[in-house]
């Protein structure tokens, strides 16, 4: 049943991204927004808009009742949750379906399964996806932790079962450090999540973060669109992503992709999803699955020549994919820079009025941004203001294109991470693709010191 009108339960660049896909497919859009976002780009361009609450996200973009009421009064037949906010809230997906609306995403059951890190790993282990060696689920006792640690060999990591964002996570480099790590991780887990269950896994000291984009229809077809290398992170926030990874070849991609698509077919997964892995010494280890569109999906679109959001909408309307894995081809290389309203040295948020906004142009350059000259970046939400995405025939060409487009881009009036990105593209290690998930922290520290 084709979608006629989609409510976009998000804001900023991703709301605009989804609006563009809808508009190109002839689907009407409903923007929802807080009072402070009344003049935001996603509101200006949408076919209809509904103010759903005051600025704090919990009262607006996280307000399920308001969003469902907005869908009801505008007659929307589907809801796209974007990323963040309610996108991985199984209760919300359930409520959407209970109101006879289409939730553009996976089933509530799969969202719930992947939201529980231990359940997600259990499922992936069963389905034959490689994991970091470690405990099979939560550890009952310290003694159990000690035995598993000996098996997988030090260094090891103790992590909160309910965790995320690095909280409730401790490294033990030898058995002598294990008891402290165990105690601290549990205490932090209890404080942060109200749940002191922890598990243990081998600590990878120089991994890359590599994730695989998948898409499934409701007819049992699953394809993958290759990997993204998202190793450039600072405090678990991705800053720059590439497709493909500088360390993988087509054979690696095909092998991982075959394992993952087989697993998701067995799981009965639907719509878009991303499996995140740590990669070190040629080995992949599943860490979690995001049951939604990712911020960095454009790099995949650029190398595969597909529109992932349109695919989400088609699949949500019940259409079959209409192609199989052998039809998915990879061309060239793509890089995304996340430009945020933050100081490029201190990362202090820098909301406020944008003076001149000038997007770079020309061949192979894509900008996903809800900015405009004179726009006021509100202080209430995520600091992402623009994604600069470049595509080139080779990684070297993509980097050269990135350098010249970063030089053309202007965002006046507020501090942004543009200067940091300009420094990264000049770095020899980055240019060589020689980095791990720890690289960026050191790079930033070096700049702050220097």
């Amino acid at each position: 049943m084709p979608l006629r009108k989609v409510l976009i339960a998000n804001r900023g660049e991703i709301a605009l991204r989804i609006h563009r896909a809808c508009q190109e497919m002839g689907i009407a859009t409903v923007a929802v927004h807080s009072t402070v976002d009344a003049t935001a780009m996603h509101v200006r361009l949408a076919d209809e808009s509904v103010c759903i609450g005051p600025p704090p996200a919990r009262d607006s973009y996280l307000n399920m009742a308001a969003i469902l009421s907005a869908a009801a009064i505008t007659g929307a037949d589907a809801i796209h949750p974007g990323y963040g906010f309610l996108s991985e809230n199984a209760d919300f997906a359930e409520m959407v379906e209970a109101h006879q609306l289409t939730f553009i995403g996976p089933t509530p059951g799969h969202i719930r399964m992947m939201g529980d890190k231990i359940a997600a790993k259990d499922a992936m282990r069963r389905l034959g996806v490689p994991l970091v060696p470690g405990s099979l689920g939560a550890l009952a006792t310290f003694e159990e932790a000690r035995i598993v640690a000996q098996e997988v060999m030090y260094p090891v990591l103790i992590k909160a079962a309910a965790g995320g964002g690095g909280r409730g996570m401790k490294v033990a480099r030898a058995e002598s450090e294990l008891e402290d790590a165990w105690r601290l991780a549990r205490a932090e887990a209890k404080a942060a999540f109200g749940n002191d269950e922890v598990y243990l896994e081998k600590y990878l000291d120089r991994p890359r973060h590599i994730e695989l984009q998948v898409l499934a229809d409701t007819h049992g077809n699953v394809v993958h669109f290759g990997e993204r290398d998202c190793s450039l992170q600072r405090r678990h926030q991705k800053l720059l992503e590439e497709a493909g990874s500088p360390v993988l070849g087509q054979a690696d991609r095909d092998a991982l992709g075959a394992q993952v698509t087989r697993a998701l077919r067995e799981l009965g997964y639907r719509n878009a999803g991303t499996l995140e892995f740590l990669w070190q010494d040629g080995q992949f280890a599943f860490i979690e699955m995001n049951t939604r569109l990712q911020v960095e999906h454009p790099v995949t679109e650029m190398v595969c020549g597909i529109d992932l959001v349109k695919e989400q909408l088609r699949v949500a309307a019940g259409e079959p994919l209409g192609y199989d894995q052998s039809d998915v081809r990879f061309h060239g290389h793509a890089i995304e820079c996340r430009i945020t309203a933050e100081d490029p040295q201190s990362f202090a948020p820098s909301p406020g009025r944008v003076g001149t906004y000038h997007a770079p142009g020309g061949l192979g350059v894509r900008v996903d941004s809800a900015l405009y000259s004179g726009y006021v970046v509100p202080p209430h939400y995520d600091s992402l203001i623009a994604k600069l995405v470049v595509h080139g025939g080779t990684r070297a060409e993509a980097i050269a294109r990135l350098r010249r487009s970063l030089a053309e881009m202007v965002v006046d009036g507020i501090a942004t991470t543009l200067p940091l990105h300009r420094a990264i593209v000049e770095d020899a290690e980055f240019q060589a693709g020689d980095y791990t998930i720890h690289w960026l922290e050191r790079f930033v520290a070096g700049r702050q010191g220097g």
Partner: protein
């Protein structure tokens, strides 16, 4: 004034015109007894219209049929918006003026209401939420029709 140089409005306006047309920034005339000087700064701001208004030129999003207050950009809202006695919607939903179809309205124009008195209902998620008068006063405007969809902050009534 001697020679008519000083203060002749027509002269000054004529000079100002020259100044503008020629894109000069300053004209100074001096004679024995008097001096006249006009100056202007070049029209500096790059994006002049952005000063007061958002610069984008898109047409306002059209409202959905039958959803009058939805989708109306704030700029187009009536000045009632800023009335001190304005009662706005605390939620998204459908507003009703009476408890059930066919029954009398909670309030009518000119009615006296007490603080805390129910003035209308908003249905959201199949729940009917009573909207109560935030103060005592007289209902001087009713800004919605019964059954109309309302967004957060939508103007409902004015109580003065």
């Amino acid at each position: 004034m001697s020679g008519g140089l000083l203060f002749d409005p027509a002269t000054i306006r004529a000079l100002a015109e020259i100044l503008r047309d020629t894109e000069l920034t300053e004209i100074e005339l001096v004679d024995k007894e008097s001096r006249i000087r006009l100056a202007r700064q070049l029209p500096a701001p790059v994006i002049a219209p952005a000063a007061a208004l958002p610069p984008m030129a898109w047409a306002p999003a059209p409202a959905a049929p039958g959803a009058a207050p939805i989708g109306v950009p704030p700029a187009a809202q009536v000045p009632d918006d800023e009335h001190p006695g304005l009662v706005t919607s605390p939620m998204v939903g459908v507003a009703y003026l009476s408890p059930e179809p066919g029954q009398a309205a909670y309030v009518s124009l000119g009615a006296r209401v007490e603080q805390g008195q129910t003035v209308l209902l908003i249905e959201a998620m199949k729940t009917f939420n009573q909207i109560k008068a935030p103060r005592a006063g007289t209902v001087t405007r009713i800004l919605i029709e019964s059954g109309a969809p309302v967004e957060y902050g939508a103007p409902l009534l004015i109580i003065e």
